[in-house]
């Protein structure tokens, strides 16, 4: 009982402390870089799309608001033919970013994206793709992975030996 009263008293005392509210939009808040706001697709340091269309973001998405179609260019590089996020469904949980093996999908500090029409919240690849590397400079998936793409042959990725000559009998 006393504890109840003490609790009520403590709450009452809060009336005399300074509110922590930031008066947005008059006052802009500081958002940390890991803020989970609007989602973007980044590019690797060579300026190519980072997304390889692996579908891991879409399967990680708890509200299933990511849909895409993977395809491959003539040299074997995978990329999304189209990529769509329905932000009217997105809950900004950041699981897609966690799941992304190529740092392609990233959440940014932008959260000011209200619209009058829900359809305007459906973002296609052109709306999502930015021209930089986002939060993770330097990483290039295809430099690490063993597949061959245009401009990178077998054995040219990091920690790769030159391709085996199958016809050689040398030990």
């Amino acid at each position: 009982m006393l504890k109840l009263l003490k609790g009520i008293w403590l709450v009452f005392l809060r009336a005399f402390t300074r509110p922590v509210t930031i008066q947005y939009p008059d006052e802009k808040p500081y958002l940390p870089p890991r803020w989970r706001g609007r989602i973007i697709l980044s590019r690797d340091p060579d300026g190519e799309e980072r997304c390889v269309g692996c579908y891991l973001c879409s399967v990680a998405c708890p509200v299933d608001c990511i849909a895409l179609q993977a395809t491959e260019d003539e040299h074997g590089r995978r990329y999304p033919a189209w990529f769509r996020i329905n932000f009217s469904r997105c809950i900004f949980c950041g699981y897609c970013e966690e799941a992304c093996p190529t740092y392609a999908i990233q959440l940014t500090t932008d959260f000011e994206m209200s619209e009058h029409d829900r359809r305007n919240l459906v973002y296609e690849k052109e709306d999502l793709l930015i021209s930089g590397t986002g939060k993770y400079p330097g990483y290039n998936f295809y430099r690490v992975s063993g597949v061959r793409i245009g401009g990178k042959d077998k054995g040219e990725a990091e920690h790769e030996a030159a391709p085996v000559d199958v016809r050689s009998l040398m030990p």
């Binding site: 609790g7 009520i8 709450v11 009452f12 009336a15 402390t17 509110p19 922590v20 509210t21």
Partner: protein, 320 residues
Amino acid sequence: MNEVAFRLPIIAGVLVTLLTLSALLIWLERRLLGFWQERYGPNRVGPFGLLQSVADMIKIFMKEDWVPPFADKAVFVIAPAVIIVTVLMSFAVVPFTPSIVVADLNIGLLFFLAMSSLSAYSVVLAGWASNNKYSLLGGLRASAQMLSYEVFMGLSLMGVVMLAGSFNLGDIVEAQRDLWFCIPQILGFIIFLIAGLAETKRIPFDIPEAEAELVAGFHTEYSGMKFGMFFVGEYLGIILISAMITVLFFGGWQGPWLPPAIWFSIKTFLFICLFILLRAALPRLRFDQLMAFGWKVMLPLALVNLTVTGALVLAGHPSK
């Protein structure tokens, strides 16, 4: 006939004031909750956000007034009206000042108790008519809760009646000229305060609409102004219980220097604030806790209070 004509301005004045106040309470509650939670509360519409109530009213009037196709239409519409009517009727017997009272009944207290019992119908009917499991559960909870808490609500006031020797609220206020009943009837006051909280379905006794479990309880299906009427009914209830506490335990309009109306308002306002503070500070009870608390703690306490007061009154007046 003259009597009625004389009362009309008072009736009108009371009605207008109450409805305005209950609207303002929306702002007040949110604002106070804000302060107690280290934030501002509504501060954008008008000075200090005072016009928030106006904005809310405009919004609520503009909303689609929707009656679910599966609901019992007539009852569904009547239910919210019942709560407003019963609460407003209760105000008829409240003596705001010696001169401002709508109906100076000699059974004023009983009338108040009767009206507040009737408001249980509103909730039960709303829950029933909505034809929705959450609403029905809310209605059931509300009826059980209000029935249980009314028992000792009435009992807790009998001490006051004994001390004042009258059911007339004006007489009760007059009887506190020397000593407010909150001192001799401290137990009665606490019991009435708790019962009042339960009667208005305020936190920590808001289980009939417990949104965490019942969506919104008995008013799940309500929207627009019908929902608004439940809202207004709740705020009117707060004002009513606060006013009754003032009248019954804190000497009503009485006080030095200031005019009676001001004293009455100050005291009532403080209790309204207390209600809001409790909401800011306390968690919701579980239903079984609520019932156990009512029947196992509050009812015996009320009976003890009644017995002790009666004994003391008898002891103080051996001649009678």
